[in-house]
């Protein structure tokens, strides 16, 4: 038996499991560098010249050449990439050819609706998934279980542009409860505008989460952990919420993180359907006008967000499961 230790030492022992927070970000650098290469060259593979699209079909060759020179588009790609990285190091992402302003500032003004949308989607998804998985797992084989399973399978199948359109049709057009599209100006207004797009995201996300949670909860209810808790006289509710759910949440957190990454890409569609002025919409406009700087900037922002979310998921996993050391 080891010698006794003080309470202070115990706290330090708990904290050392979080050491990875210090060194893990170093691993992000090569990942982000790789992403910058991919986005930079992919954008330039799209046919079409940004200067020509900006100036229209009747632009003179001189005008086009001027624009190209102004934005550095006449340089070889490798040189352009070098300047892109150099600017990035200085905290700049270049100027948008379409909006004529700094890309970083452009992203800063558009990031809030996207963040709010993703957050609303995740919160709503959890509000749907946890109770329906619990209902389903605790009455396995019952009517509620079948309903949840059918709906979650359906939720996986419906594309979000269709689901969004149906929700608009029902809640905005027929019932006139919620606004059709757009994004409000004050907090209350913004929340009202977020309900339908948030729900669109939540419906497909909750389908994935429900299935994982349900499977984890069913396994948990039959596990030795639950048997032991019942054997010491814990009522079924306590067994479920205190022992089964925390154990079922651990794998779901990682699934959620993977899906949020996918979700960020999904906002491109949802923002277009609901005309939310966020990053997804900006990305679409950037692509159509060959606004290289904007597309690069937004893609890099999305990539950073995905990396960051997985990092947060790692922290949450360590917090939820004392066995995990990273």
């Amino acid at each position: 038996m080891r010698p006794p230790r003080t309470a202070q030492r115990r706290g330090a022992e708990g904290l050392h499991r979080y050491r990875f927070i210090l060194f893990r970000p170093l691993q992000f650098l090569p990942v982000l560098l790789g992403i910058s290469v991919i986005t930079f060259f992919l954008v330039r593979l799209i046919p079409g010249d940004p200067a020509r699209i900006l100036l229209g079909t009747r632009a003179t060759p001189t005008a086009i050449a001027n624009i190209r020179a102004q934005y550095g588009l006449d340089e070889p790609y490798l040189v352009q990439y070098f300047f892109f990285l150099k600017n990035l190091g200085a905290g700049e992402m270049g100027r948008s050819t379409l909006f004529k302003i700094d890309v970083l500032r452009l992203i800063a003004t558009r990031i809030e609706p996207t963040l709010a949308l993703v957050l609303a989607g995740v919160v709503l998804a959890l509000l749907i998934a946890v109770p329906s998985a619990a209902l389903s797992a605790r009455r396995q084989g019952g009517a509620a279980d079948h309903a949840v399973r059918v709906l979650s399978t359906a939720g996986l199948g419906f594309p979000s542009f269709w689901l969004g359109a149906m929700l608009i049709l029902l809640f905005s057009v027929k019932l006139d409860w919620l606004p059709v599209s757009g994004y409000g100006t004050n907090l209350g207004d913004k929340l009202v505008h977020l309900v339908l797009p948030g729900l669109t995201i939540a419906l497909s996300l909750s389908a994935v989460l429900t299935r994982s949670l349900r499977a984890g909860m069913i396994a948990g209810l039959g596990s030795d952990i639950a048997t032991a808790a019942r054997a010491r006289g814990m009522p079924e509710n306590v067994v479920f919420w205190r022992h089964v759910v925390p154990n079922a949440l651990v794998p779901t957190v990682n699934l959620l993180a993977v899906n949020i990454g996918w979700l960020i890409g999904g906002t491109v569609v949802v923002e277009s359907v609901f005309a939310v002025p966020g990053l997804g919409q900006l990305m679409v406009r950037g692509i159509f006008s060959r606004d290289y700087m904007v597309v690069q900037g937004v893609a890099l922002t999305f990539a950073c967000a995905t990396v960051l979310i997985n990092f947060i998921a790692d922290i949450v996993t360590v917090a939820l499961d004392p066995r995990v050391e990273l």
Partner: protein, 552 residues
Amino acid sequence: MTAPLAIAGLSVAFRHNGEERRLLDDVALTLNRGEILGLVGESGSGKSLLCRTVMGLLPSAKLQVTAGSIRLDGEDILAGDRFADIRGRRIGMIFQNPTSHLDPVMRIGQQISEGLMRHKGLGAQAARAEATDLLAQVGFADPPRAFESFAHQFSGGMRQRAMIAIALACDPEILIADEPTTALDVTIQAQILRLLMDLRIERGLSMILITHDLGVVAQTCDRIAVMQGGRIVETGEKRALLAAPQHGYTRQLIASHPSVGAAGAHVAVDREGAPLIRVENLEVRFPVGGGFLRKGQALRAVKDVSLSVWAGETVGIVGESGSGKSTLARTILGLTPATSGDVLFEGASLAKDRGATLRRLRSDAAMVFQDPFNSLNPRMTIGATLAEVLKTQGETPPDRIAARIGELLDMVGLERSFAGRKPRSLSGGQCQRAGIARALAVNPRVIIADECVAALDVTIQAQIIDLFRALTATGKLTLIFIAHDLAIVRNLCERVVVMHHGEIVEDGPSTRIFARPERPYTAALIAAIPDIDPDRPLNGGTPTHIQQELAP
């Protein structure tokens, strides 16, 4: 005075799609106040199911009580479905595998105090104080630290102690212990059994101890009930039952106990010539931990081990879990690479000429694994598994393969029709026989058996041991038999090698080592074997402090 627990005419059946199968059949059992009742029987005999029924914890909705009563202090608990008041508060339960029964994401202390808060209505602070006190009672040196710990930070024995503390939290009158020491090493088993006996006296507990090991029963219990096929076939006072068993199955169980059989006659081995296998200064390290920017550490599983095995020997390698015995065996066969040192097989060096030596090892040595089910391909019939080995080896002509499979099955005592069956349809003992047949298929000169009887019931264990004894009796087969169970090794092996923390601490003839161990560690291991003779108590009979106090 009524007995605290009286079971009468209890039947439990499995019902599914109109089909009904009786798993417990007219069981009658009484637990007297303050006694330890040993419930013995083999896997599938219904002993765990019986205790689950008493707790109202039937593992499936398809299982139903069809008849009988369970009376707790004269009150039928089945009639009123009063399990909610009984579990934890009046009957506590501990399980075979503390690792899977403790909640991994909840602190040990909280798992104890949740019962205290619920059943005794204590506040968080009071529950914490009492839980800490309980942890001290079950033998934790630093109870506040244990309170804050998680299950994975404990060793197996400490986890079982924590499990016991949880079960005792609300002062139950009855404790049901379902194979509480089966997953533990012998020395830890002795500690846990001692703890249970002490707690029985301190708290006046009545206890049902489920076990497959008659030695454990002989050492701890007052009375014994023997179960077979869902029925209680014999009940009686411990000494009377062990001395004069009435039922045939009880007699068979007693005869199968490894501490009963005398060491068999061994073949004379010529140790003058060169050894068959020579292990020289073997060192095996495994990297542990480490990451992207951190340097990992090395776990030294085998430390500078040297060992010679001569042809025809039966060598038992014993030690507790983590002692390096399996790693040593795997390294000898080239399944795990050595970090340094060498293994010589008939002079061929694994370190210098790995390819050629491995080829010789593959055709002259074979391994039998611990888990008979998982080491056989579930999709192949036993015949196909054996045919695959024979074809790969290439020494048996194709037209002889079928006949050879028949011979192999004869050798391990399986009917020839087993060639057409898949592992799923075999029992554990039959699977292990098939595994041995596969090892014999290459006509090996050496068999390394790694804990190959640990997962089997005692009567099956005895059969497999007899099989090995018959195979080695000819003197042509060399056997390296790895086990944590010293009684089996004493029974089978002529020579014993004791390993501890990756090192060989003792090596010699088993008769000498079991009679006069030279090292204290070996002596402690031997003393911890629960003997089937109740008058030869655990640990050479040193009484506990409580027994000393109670002595007249």
